[in-house]
Symmetry: C2
Subunit: 551 residues, 2 copies
């Protein structure tokens, strides 16, 4: 019996971010993208989330390479962690590899990793697979889709994309996708992010027009905040600034780092003398200044945040400053963005953030663009990816509208194996997968127990009850002492502290009278007695931590 092609998402299905898809056939395996996700609201203290790659570790021998569609965090961010667990060459376009290198250097992995750079049109052999790079438009330069030849047929994976007919670097290569469609596409895996939006995503070029309108006649400083990785956007700011005789200074660590990579690789066309150091702006008149800044998502301590809240070394917001927010808030960040906007207004700035101003466009394809790709590639099977359940189902419905038979549209889930043969394509078994939480330098040492405790501590704080007991008769030698954190302000609640001390002492005495000497029982008695008292009297439920010491 011939081998089956297995398509397995280790990330990016039923979630936004953490994109990672495995293709496996016989003795060969490749991985497309290796992204991180951002923690959910209830993942207290977690910095980022990466895919569980147990399955890759188990199949290290088969692993022929990573293929990366573009340089956004949700497609490259897990590489520094995953490349510590498995090893394989990483294939990507020049800018994408530039950004990957930046990340690997931070983790001292650059020297150990083989980064292989390709251009759209290149075809890379990797075991029984051959991977073709196809130019697409996205909110970062150098993004590609992949057409992957496999023994069962051609798999097209769009990565994140949109169709921008007036893009600076040329439109998504629809011609190539159409040619593939004519040859025959076995399965299409397509970005579902914007499937809930009708029509088309507007062209990046309208942002340049919007910026021009706002620069026109402005006598004050202009501050533009956007995503650091959106080179086309930053290019537009540079061009508009130059046209209006303004110098551009950049602030914010990620912006500075990424800009350096983009300049080194020739991805930015900077008019002579336009770019100046942020320290130089004090010497320039207000109508000669543009500051490009991080902070478009309201991030704490980002450059824009510091400018607004008077914590930035070189720039403080002044009345009249025009702040252009050339981005929209990612779901979950709305309140943080709003907090900065309010503070900018309070400082007297003019803030431009209205969606109607045309100062931002999405990087993802809307319904009509998705339909074009369906119509061009005419896949035998369709697998919606990059989305939550709502997006996957809406994208499946769209494919059916396009004439696909329901049984040829497959909604998968994380770890589910899609088994493809020449005859059928269907869901099979499940491989181990999941979320690995990264906190500081700790990878995976924060799990569900730790998170549950953090949540408990966050909600009601904690009470430590500390007591010295005699090893002879279990009587109290010293204490019980009560220490609280995050519960109530102890200095203003001495009566309550005394009441808790008395309850704990009584709990111990009761145990002693009943000849209970095992610590576990004494501890749980203290915990229950104090817990009940607090719930009854204050409707609160702090973590209670009895500590018994013995001499």
């Amino acid at each position: 019996m011939a081998d089956k092609l297995k398509i397995i998402a280790l990330g990016g299905l039923n979630e936004i971010g953490k994109n990672m898809t495995v293709l496996e056939y016989g003795k060969d395996m490749i991985v497309v993208d290796c992204g991180l996700g951002f923690p959910e609201d209830d993942m207290y203290g977690v910095d980022l989330v990466i895919p569980d790659v147990t399955y890759l570790v188990k199949n290290q021998k088969k692993l022929r390479g990573f293929f990366i569609t573009h340089g956004h965090e949700d497609h490259i961010g897990a590489l520094p962690y995953v490349l510590q667990a498995v090893s394989a060459p990483v294939h990507a376009t020049p800018l994408t590899n530039g950004l990957i290198k930046l990340k690997l250097e931070e983790h001292d992995l650059a020297a150990k990793t083989q980064l292989v750079t390709h251009k759209p049109g290149d075809v890379v052999k990797a075991g029984c697979f051959s991977v073709e790079f196809i130019h697409v438009n996205h909110s970062i330069a150098d993004a590609v889709a992949f057409a992957i030849r496999t023994p069962v047929g051609t798999i097209v994976m769009t990565g994140d994309f949109k169709i921008d007919p007036t893009a600076e670097d040329g439109m998504t290569d629809l011609g190539r996708l159409g040619a593939l469609g004519k040859e025959g596409v076995y399965a299409l895996l397509m970005d579902s992010t914007n499937v809930e939006r009708q029509g088309y995503t507007p062209s990046e070029s309208i942002v340049a027009e919007g910026l021009d309108r706002h620069f026109n006649g402005c006598k004050n400083r202009i501050i533009v905040t956007t995503f650091a990785s959106n080179m086309h956007r930053i290019q537009a700011v540079l061009a508009v600034a130059h046209r209006h005789g303004r110098k551009v200074a950049v602030t914010g660590r990620s912006m500075e780092n990424i800009l350096k990579v983009a300049i080194d690789l020739g991805y930015l066309n900077i008019p002579d003398g336009t770019l100046v150091d942020i320290n130089q702006i004090k010497t320039l008149p207000k109508d000669r200044i543009v500051i490009v800044s991080t902070g478009s998502q309201g991030e704490n301590m980002s450059a824009l945040y510091r400018m607004a809240f008077s914590g930035h070394k070189q720039v403080e917001i002044q009345p009249g400053d025009k702040v252009i927010i050339s981005a929209s808030a990612i779901p979950g960040n709305e309140k943080a963005v709003s907090r900065i906007i309010n503070e900018l207004y309070r400082k007297g700035a003019e803030v431009i953030y209205d969606k109607l101003e045309g100062l931002h466009v999405s990087g993802h394809a809307c319904c009509e663009e998705l339909k074009i790709i369906h119509a061009l590639t005419k896949p035998r099977y369709f697998i919606p990816v990059h989305g939550e359940q709502r997006h996957l189902q809406k994208h499946a419905a769209l494919a059916k509208q396009m004439g696909m038979r329901p049984k040829n549209v497959i909604i998968s889930d994380l770890g589910k194996v899609i088994e493809c043969t020449g005859k059928t394509c269907k869901l099979g078994q499940t491989v181990p997968t999941g979320k690995i939480l990264v906190d500081g330098t700790g990878v995976g040492d924060v799990g569900s127990v730790v998170l549950r405790d953090r949540k408990h501590l966050a909600q009601d704080g904690m009470i430590v009850v500390c007591v010295n007991l005699s090893s002879e008769d279990g009587s109290i030698l010293s204490g019980p002492d009560i220490i609280t954190r995050g519960f109530v302000y102890a200095k203003e609640n001495e009566d309550l502290m005394e009441a808790l001390r008395m309850i704990a002492a009584r709990s111990i005495e009761v145990c002693q009278m009943r000849n209970i000497s095992d610590w576990a029982t004494i501890k749980s008695t203290i915990k229950n007695d104090i817990g009940q008292y607090l719930f009854k009297n204050a409707k609160r439920n702090p973590m209670i931590l009895p500590i018994i010491m013995e001499i």
Copy 2:
């Protein structure tokens, strides 16, 4: 010298919610609205936020009454707390008082409080003030604006409102507002919530049309979730259900409670036999059922949440169920709503939530409606209220567009006194104000120190270091013991626990060698040594709590 009229916002300025405005003249004071706010993301464990009413307590003798515009939480929710600190009659319309009574009963305050019921057109004397009730449209029935005659002139306060020409209960009384404008309005305080939206808010009547479209031909169960207090919406569901031969069952505590009040007061017209108990729906065919549910904001453990996650006693989502979300997510709730939508899809439900479906309209006036009120009332002074700084400034700009002189437009802040005389109206001193945090039954005992600790605990958990020292020479009698919560899973990290134990022991020995015997210094040495070790090795910063016991 004549007295000044003082207008003081104790809530609702530079924030959404917690609305409360004081009007004071000579020996008289009235309060308009008494609302609660919802906690910010960093207010860990806080249930709700109420205004600091120190100023009212100090002026209890002057206090002539509370006047409430409508029955939403952000206008009535602080009453049960504030009425424990001060006492005065509460004036409101029938439904508003019905909802207030419900709240007061939960706090055993109903018997002690004088609730006085009025209808639009009524004028209530309160000291030197007389307060006229004026009908307005909002997303709850029985909402009013106030025209308040004061010794310096008439103050118009719109409360939350919109202008709905096809409202069931009649349009906002523009005629009366116009008449007041002709008499002369001294100051206008107007809702700024939707000032960032152009045009008009659509009529509530389009929702009934949208519902009808979705009921039409549907062969499955229909579940509608909306705000419990939106009686017009629930009335529309009842009417459409009746027309399509469906019975309606209600689920969710707040929905059931509010519905009972609305029915008792005659605010709902329920076709005979349409309303059934939720336990009855199992006996009905699918195309004869409508379930009206709480949970439109994705609230944990709301009825819709429980139906989606299989925790509801009577209803579990089945494939084919049509779930209509007749609400939009309040900023900050987007992710919670999305989580429920995804789960509903996963269970096979059809979920209708698209903004384009016309299944929800806002309760607040957009720009064109705001302009109408400006044009009708022609106030001498304009004070934008109910909004964050961005909204207040945009509303101020709109007033200037309407021809007002900049110095007659006043953006105030919480606690700021607006001093009004016959000649001028300007910002004066500040009275004490702020946020009082409610956690369980505790009012105000969670302050900045407690919140800071909760945040710290949430981020990185905590480490308790417990040791018995000899009172003679400071040597270790037992311990140090290390107990952690929310840090790492101790059982899987025994090496780390042992390392921390050794560091603590070493810290104590070093102190002993240096003849340091005061506990504060020993504790801070332990804290610093462990803290440095963890930051260096794990980039983490848990709370470290050294406890020294002495025999």
